[in-house]
């Protein structure tokens, strides 16, 4: 990874302590230019606090961070950032257009540039023609869209989206995904803070899992899964020697023999090629095979495995550690 371009976000042992409690506790991250980075973790893991530190809203208690090669305390760095806060609350007495003009001017945009850009971003977020209405009359979904328009308004190089679809319906979520993909196509990096795993899975190049203020793992989906293929097996019974035979082929994760007359086994294989050999091994032990289902590795499985009580490092040794 050292040959890659310099990271757009790099933190090292970042800490934030509130009243003696570490909310972020030694967090180390790398985000590369132009990538969509998913930041995942349960509620209270320190995700929003981390985003706020990266934006200069919260001062770290310790550790180092560099955003776009500088410090977020520097306005010149913040001029190149976009941000949609988790609590998308804006001045309700403004209209959507006034809100965007105000933020554009704060970001240093010229009035002529803004006149062209504001209708454009309103259209992008699906608020075309609604910019003249007061924000006080906007629905939650419209406010979130307006906040998103503000985040992408000044053509940032890096956009922080904190739960960007929390107030949106399924159609809105698809639209936001398309906006994120559009940003990536334009070379803009996106830092996506979300707990909607399917959303993250569909758009993110790389993800980090965070729990109790620490990054458990980070890397591309491929790296994190370590190329593992989970296979679900159902047989009539666990015959002697079966588990040992399977353990030769892959890692036996889980066996469930609670239902009489059937047994479920979860097996993790390194290669899809090994699936027929699993069937052969089961036959060889004399078990009756009812189902053999190779699955695509999914984020939800990983998330639950990581966040629940299992010790993280034992899971996928190939993954890049923070």
């Amino acid at each position: 990874m050292s040959a890659a371009p310099p990271p757009i976000i790099e933190t090292h042992e970042l800490r934030k302590v509130y009243k003696g409690r570490a909310v972020v506790d030694g967090l180390s991250l790398r985000v590369l230019p132009g990538e969509v980075f998913g930041f995942l973790g349960p509620n209270g893991a320190g995700k929003s606090t981390t985003v706020k530190m990266l934006l200069g809203l919260v001062l770290p208690s310790g550790g180092q961070m560099r955003v776009l090669g500088g410090s977020p305390a520097d306005p010149a760095v913040r001029a190149r950032l976009g941000f949609l806060p988790e609590q998308f609350r804006f001045q309700t007495w403004m209209t959507g257009e006034e809100f965007l003009h105000f933020h554009g001017r704060l970001a240093g945009m010229k009035p002529g540039e803004l006149r062209a850009r504001v209708p454009q971003v309103l259209k992008t977020v699906g608020l075309g023609g609604r910019g003249g209405e007061s924000l006080g009359g906007y629905s939650k979904g419209m406010l979130q869209r307006c906040g998103l328009a503000g985040a992408i308004l000044a053509r940032p190089e890096l956009v922080f989206l904190d739960e960007p679809t929390s107030a949106l319906d399924p159609i809105g979520r698809v639209e936001v995904r398309e906006i994120i993909e559009g940003l990536r196509a334009g070379g803009v990096a996106v830092f996506l803070n979300s707990h909607l795993l399917s959303e993250v899975e569909q758009v993110c190049d790389r993800v980090a899992f965070v729990k109790e203020g620490r990054v458990l793992q980070q890397g591309s989906m491929q790296e994190l899964m370590g190329g593992v293929i989970p296979v679900g097996i159902r047989v009539d019974a666990v015959k002697p020697g079966l588990l040992e035979a399977l353990a030769v082929l892959g890692e036996v994760r889980h066996t469930d023999t609670q239902t009489p007359g059937r047994a479920e086994i979860e097996l993790w294989l390194q290669h899809a090629d090994a699936v027929p050999a699993v069937a052969d091994a089961i036959h060889a032990c004399g078990a009756r095979l009812h189902a053999l289902t190779p699955r695509r590795p999914d984020l939800e499985t990983m998330f639950l495995e990581l966040i629940e009580d299992r010790p993280a490092p034992a899971l996928t040794p190939e993954a890049v550690h923070a």
Binding site: K52, L55, G56, L57, V58, L59, P75, A76, R78, A79, L81, F83, L84, P85, Q87, F88, R89, F90, Q91, W93, M94, F102, H103, R105, L106, A107, G108, G147, G150
Partner: protein
């Protein structure tokens, strides 16, 4: 500075759009109209009495016109009081309100320094408050002049001292708004305002009763919170010789009006305190987590 002015402009537009300005204008017109109507009736009464007593007319600067003079004085006291109230109430959530309702996060993530934001908020609210109090004070004095022909001796410097008090209160309220929640700030600045008034009363009683300790306590309160001293200085400038004479003979027993000019040092201190409060607010807000 450009960003600070942008925030100031936002604050002005906010004051207009949140109907702050229109509510103020309507209520102030009612207040001024009501008060001036009272003075108009008073003037008719006084004229009638002069006619009844067989006099040709009344001297504007003489004892017979003292009711009109006191009306103008108390009118200006109300202007000062409303100005103080307005300074605190309009500004009480200048920073904390935006933090509490979540507006601040998206603004501070922009390339604006927090010090610029605080400065801009202060400039914006100071403009609103100062213009309001200046208009109110001018309307009252001009109204009294048009009705009765009486104008206090030094109206412009007197109004200037009131406006300095408004500026100071706005600055202290902005500082409180970076330190405390909106509610705590409002209560806190009002208590401070009350401390200034208490200082004036203690000073008056101390002088009247010839108690140096009490007078010293009063002066200490004036230094901590000079708003009341600024009003007393302003009231001195508004009193013609007749009223000052009454004041001196009663040894300053009226805590609402001053019988001595304000010390120039205290005026400078009030201005410095306003600047210090804004600077402290800028410093404090720059070091705060949002």
């Amino acid at each position: 500075m450009h960003n600070a002015l942008l925030i100031a402009e936002l604050s002005l537009r906010e004051a207009v759009r949140k109907r702050l300005v229109s509510v103020l204008l309507i209520l102030s017109v009612l207040f001024i109209g009501f008060y001036l109507y009272g003075i108009y009736r008073l003037e008719m009464n006084l004229d009638q009495r002069a006619v009844d007593a067989g006099l040709d007319g009344r001297s504007i600067t003489g004892l017979s016109n003292v009711p009109v003079m006191y009306s103008a004085m108390f009118g200006m006291y109300l202007v000062y009081f409303l100005g103080a109230l307005m300074s605190v109430l309009s500004t009480v959530g200048a920073v904390s309100g935006d933090i509490e309702n979540g507006v601040m996060q998206s603004v501070i993530a922009r390339p604006i320094s927090r010090a610029q934001l605080v400065l801009g908020r202060w400039i914006g609210f100071t403009v609103v408050n100062v213009v309001y109090v200046a208009l109110l004070g001018a309307a009252l004095l001009i109204g009294v002049y048009v009705i009765t022909g009486y104008l206090p001796p030094s109206p412009a410097p007197a109004l200037g001292l009131i406006l300095l008090a408004v500026t100071l209160l706005t600055a202290l309220t902005v500082l409180g708004s970076t330190l405390f929640t909106t509610l705590a700030n409002g209560i806190g600045v009002f208590v401070l305002y009350g401390a200034g008034f208490t200082g004036g009363i203690l000073n008056a009683i101390g002088t009247f009763a010839d108690s140096p300790t009490l007078a010293a306590l009063g002066r200490a309160a004036n230094i901590v919170m000079p708003t009341n001293a600024l009003w007393l200085g302003s009231s001195y400038l508004l009193q013609p010789e007749v009223l000052l004479d009454i004041s001196r003979r009663t040894r300053g027993a009226n805590p609402f009006f001053g019988s001595d000019p304000i010390a120039p040092g205290l005026v400078l201190w009030a201005a410095a305190l306003a600047a210090l409060a804004v600077a402290a607010a800028m410093w404090r807000f720059s070091r705060r987590d949002l």
